[in-house]
Each structure stands twice: as C-alpha cells, then as structure tokens.
Amino acid sequence: MVIKHLTDDEVQRYTVDKPTCENRIAEHIHLCGECRSKVEVYQLLITGINQQAQPAFNFNLSELVVQQLPSPKEKASDRWLLWVLLFIGIGFIGTIFYYFEGSFVYLFSGIAAIFIYLIIITALTVITGLFIAMYKKYDSEMKLLDSY
C-alpha cells in the first residue's frame, strides 16, 4: 500500500530524466495513480514547451558581422607571389640589357643624357603605378570573393 506520495521534485526527475531515476520512484509511480497523473501533467507540460516557436533573427547576422570584421592580414602566399613576380621582372630586364647592351649604347648615343634619364624615370613611374593599380584591383577582388 502506498503511504507517502512522491515530492514534486521526484515527479519532475522521473519525467525529464527517467534513466537516472531511482527504482523506488519508478515503482511508486507504477503503483500510485495520483503520482502517475502528476507525471502525465508534467509530460504534457514538456510537450507544450517543446511546441513553442523558436526565436530567430529576421536579418542576415552572419553577413552583418563579417562586413564589420577588420580586413584579414596579408597572407604569406601573397607576399611570396609578389617577390616571385619582382624577381622575374628584374631577371627579364637584366637579360635584355645583357644581350642588347651594345645596341642600347648605339641607340641612345645621339640623345642627350638628360633625355635618357627623363625617359627612364617616366617609364619606371608608369610601370610602378600600373603595378600598384593592378595589385589593388587583385586585392579588392579577393576580398569580395572572401565575403561570399
């Protein structure tokens, strides 16, 4: 005969965490209609809780956050690429000078030295400007790709 009913905590424990519940609780519930009805009410409550709508943000949080992150550091592979391009460029110019050294002297022999310097400086400035613009474009495109 059942003398003492289960406490509310025991009923809850049986409802939400049955496998870890002591045997005496399970046995009592098996025998006691009143405690069993309390378990049923809790089971109903848990069902009700599980049926509640899950809140969610109504905006693209991931995109908003990523846009605000500081730009990533220059990758090591990018730096290597720059150095390789620089060495290829220097090698190419060096090769031209090596093979056509005589012709260059002959080509520029009739022109005043000041003009030669002017031509070289202009050419270097244009090449540098183009190179910087090209790298900036490449970098911005890589960032754009990264954000998707």
Partner: protein, 206 residues
C-alpha cells in the same frame, strides 16, 4: 561522445581558419551558433530594436576574444556565455533589472507555495488531467505561462528543453553552479505546471 569529438574538431578547424585571417570561417561560426544566441537574446532583451545591435556586438566580442579561446568548452557554449554576459551588461547599462536574477529565491518560492496550496485544495485527479489533454490548447497555455516567468527561468527552460544543453553547459553560459541551474529549472517547471493546472481549473468553471 563521437559527436562531441567531431564537433570539437570542427570548432578547432574553424577557429584556426579565423585566426589565420579567413573571415568566411567566422561567418560559418556565426551561422552555426546564431540559433543559440537568438534564444538567449530573445529571452533576456525585451526590446526588438536592441536585439540587432546586441547580436552584432556579441559576435564582434567573440571575434576579438577568439585568440584566448582554449577549447575548454564547446565553441557554441563559449559564444553563448559571451551572449549571456553581453545581454546582462546591456541591461546594467540601461539600468534595467533582469527579473528573477536578483530576487528569485524568496518571492518565487512564496508564489509557488501559494499556487501549490491552491492546487492542493482542488485535488487534481487523474480524470481531470485526461480531460485537460483532450480539450485545451496546451501550447498556448504554456506560452502564456512562459511569458510570465522571470527572464532567467525562461532562458534556462529554453537552453535545457530547446537546445538540449546539459546542466554543466548551461552553468558555463550563465555563470551559475550546475546545482543552481537544476534547482531553478525545477522551480520554473513547477511554476508552469501550477499555471497550467490553474488555467485549466479556471476555464473548467465556465
């Protein structure tokens, strides 16, 4: 167990990618954890307009603190902890009080005791519970009950029943001992049960 290990590997991989400068990987972390963060933010922050700013703030903090993450918990739990603390900081700055956090013990114990006495006097029987199942829209009644709960109880209910987090994980997020989490959850459920039964009895009289 395996699932947990797999999760840790994914977390580690994502964190390493973010730390090496891959912002897309952080976007993946946001997507993986935003449901948990939404649950915490929605339960604690009452104003919808504030939630957007707070959600962004949470992840920007997480990004800044990521180098200090030592994988002592799941990444989602760690971000949940940042979310919870950011929400509390926001309430403190606005001088708002998180109901239930400061005066939970006495007031809610008393309220529960009152409800228990009322219910006891009505002697809910097996039959009434069965009728209740059939006739009432439980989900709506539970929703009303949850809305009336203190924010801390609502948060715990959500984290335990919807996110299926353990007492320890919830403790890490909220900074409460696992035993306290368990005890608060028991009280919250008891309050909801009392509300459910009262609601039923009241409507039954009509």
């Amino acid at each position: 167990m395996n699932n947990n290990t797999g999760q840790n590997t994914t977390d580690r991989h994502l964190v390493e990618r973010v730390l090496s400068g891959d912002t897309r990987a952080f976007g993946t972390i946001v997507k993986n954890t935003e449901k948990l963060v939404a649950k915490i933010v929605f339960e604690i922050i009452p104003n919808d307009g504030d939630r957007k700013d707070i959600a962004q703030d949470i992840y920007l903090k997480a990004y800044q603190k990521l180098p200090s993450f030592k994988f002592q918990s799941k990444l989602s739990t760690w971000i949940g902890q940042i979310a919870y603390n950011t929400c509390l900081d926001f309430l403190r700055k606005k001088k708002l009080v998180l109901p239930g956090l400061l005066n939970t013990d006495n007031e809610y114990e008393e309220a529960n005791d009152r409800l228990d006495i009322m219910n006891e006097s009505k002697r809910i029987s097996v039959e009434t519970a069965d009728v209740f199942v059939v006739n009432k829209n439980v989900s709506e009644i539970v929703k009303t009950g949850i809305d009336k709960l203190p924010a801390i109880y609502k948060t715990l209910i959500t984290l335990y029943h919807h996110e299926e987090l353990s007492y320890d994980e919830i403790g890490t997020i909220t900074g409460l001992p696992a035993g306290t989490v368990k005890s608060y959850l028991f009280r919250a459920r008891r309050e909801l049960k009392n509300d459910l039964l009262l609601h039923y009895k009241k409507e039954d009289l009509w």
